[in-house]
Amino acid sequence: MFRAVVAGVGLAAFLLAAFLLLRIMPGDPAELRLQRQDLGGAQLRVEMQQRLGTDQALAEQLSVWIKGLLRGDLGRSFASDRPLAAELTRRLPWSFAVGMGGLALGAMIGIVLGFASAARGGTAALAGRAFAVAGQILPSFGVAVVLLWLLAGHWQLVRPLTGPPAERLLLPVLVVAFFAVGGFARVVTRTLQQVEQAPFFTAALTKGLGRSQALRRHGGGHAMLAVLAVLTPQLGWAIGGTAVVELVFGLPGLSVFVVEGLRNRDYPLLQAFLLIAGLWILLARGFVSMLVAWLDPRPRPFE
């Protein structure tokens, strides 16, 4: 309970800081919007500022926003005047599916690869390392563009731009997974190598278990904890971090929308995004820490 209150206060402070920082950013949303419509002039600019409400004092703008939030209204986009709540709920599933689907697939492949490379080494270890290095040195859009070219353009196996949603999601999820595999595989391997040094592992071997059997049974829990530790910081990236991939594959996701909002100085959109992302992080972290507490019942120092 106490932790939830602290988290809530932290989120509120974060949003307030974001609210102020956005308005310090150079660039006037009213003027940018007029520019997009090829309009200009002081008169129009003042009118547009009045319409968007950016001519009011900061405190006034803040209270308008908070009152809206209390009514469950996220406001309207500065760029299109459309209500944000509807737009965001339409776009969120796309980004979420790409981010979480990719992370989940990456984690699964990474765990299998990590186990194999700890138990047998050889090809699996080499593959794990190759994934880890490739994830560091290749840009995600590059991998996306090449996949698009080979699978969709050259061999015409999938229709990432015109197919049904599942088909459109396939390649983006693969790209995100590609970049996630290396980290997971590495951390699983490393954890299992530590487990091999532990006395309880020797005890398991003396009981007559085979190496990989012992690793699975007695190292599995440790490996899961390590995977969760790697996963937690990446969860934040599941919403809003997939802009490049969405851009290449033409997905109507949240991340590209936010990038567009950044270009237009679309304050209500960016604020709504930060609110959603913040809530998501808090929920996800809370869930992961509960999961960790359940997986790892060893007593820990009082925090």
Partner: protein, 267 residues
């Protein structure tokens, strides 16, 4: 290690040389030669406007190096200073600094960098500053974690009890202890910055679309992937090679392959 260092130095030197000299004017348009394949005159061929691909790649190399240098310098300085200050100051200041850093870490890095480039612009220097700032939180947390381990050592307590000031102690005892791990981290970070800059220019918020940045080139050339994939693959390879060289130069050699199996204790 030395071979890897030489490899990185060689690639960086090559990129530096390429910045100073290109076979052709990277901006010269020649529509008669549009999309021409590799030839003696144009070693990598030309793009859809007949510009020499090799020359454009060369200019992009210099811009990328400038960004990486600026970002690493700024990020390392700030991160090292804040990351050492937090544990040494302790108490509320430490809490505040580290909480702030982990809060910033929550934001997707690309978005943070995009927001910062919206502030500063996307010329190489300003992009470098933005990426440096965007990575500061990461550096800070790492340095703080490394420094924390030193602070638990008895020699730190001894030095402090002998009456040395905090600053002097930090310089004498913290910095050398933190340096090796921090440098390794900086190497992987250099590779990531090369990649991140290409992503920024690929998305292209506020980028100069005529400047031959590697990301911008891939954005432009992806439309010609089916006719001449070489246009897209060449800058992609350039990014990968530069990032790999930087990554390998500092990456610690890990124990690879199968460890010797523990022998079952015989009777």
């Amino acid at each position: 290690m030395p071979t890897r260092g030489c490899l990185a130095a060689f690639v960086v030197l090559l990129a530096g040389l390429a910045t100073c000299w290109q076979p052709h004017d990277p901006h010269a348009i020649d529509l008669e030669r549009a999309l021409a394949g590799p030839s003696l005159l144009h070693p990598l061929g030309t793009d859809h406007l007949g510009r020499d691909l090799a020359s454009r790649l060369a200019v992009g190399a210099g811009r990328t190096l400038l960004v990486a240098g600026t970002a690493l310098g700024l990020g390392a300085l700030l991160g090292l200073a804040l990351g050492l200050a937090a544990p040494v100051l302790g108490g509320g200041a430490r809490r505040l600094l580290l909480d702030l850093a982990s809060l910033l870490l929550v934001l997707p890095r690309l978005l943070l960098a995009l927001a910062l480039t919206a502030l500063f612009g996307l010329a190489p220097i300003t992009a470098g500053l933005s990426l440096g700032l965007a990575t500061t939180a990461h550096h800070t947390l790492l340095t703080a974690a490394l420094a924390d381990a030193v602070l638990r050592e008895p020699y730190w307590l001894a030095a402090r009890s002998l009456g040395s000031g905090r600053l002097a102690c930090a310089r004498r005892h913290l910095l050398p202890a933190v340096r090796p791990a921090f440098l390794t981290h900086l190497g992987t970070e250099a590779a990531r910055i090369v990649v991140a800059y290409s992503e920024l220019t690929f998305i292209g918020l506020g980028a100069d679309s005529s400047a031959p940045d590697w990301g911008t080139m891939i954005w432009d050339y992806r439309l010609y992937l089916l006719e001449s994939p070489r246009l897209t693959l060449a800058p992609l390879m350039a990014i990968a090679v530069l990032a790999l060289a930087l990554h390998l130069a500092f990456d610690p050699v890990e124990p690879r392959g199968r460890r010797p199996a523990r022998r079952f204790p015989g009777p």
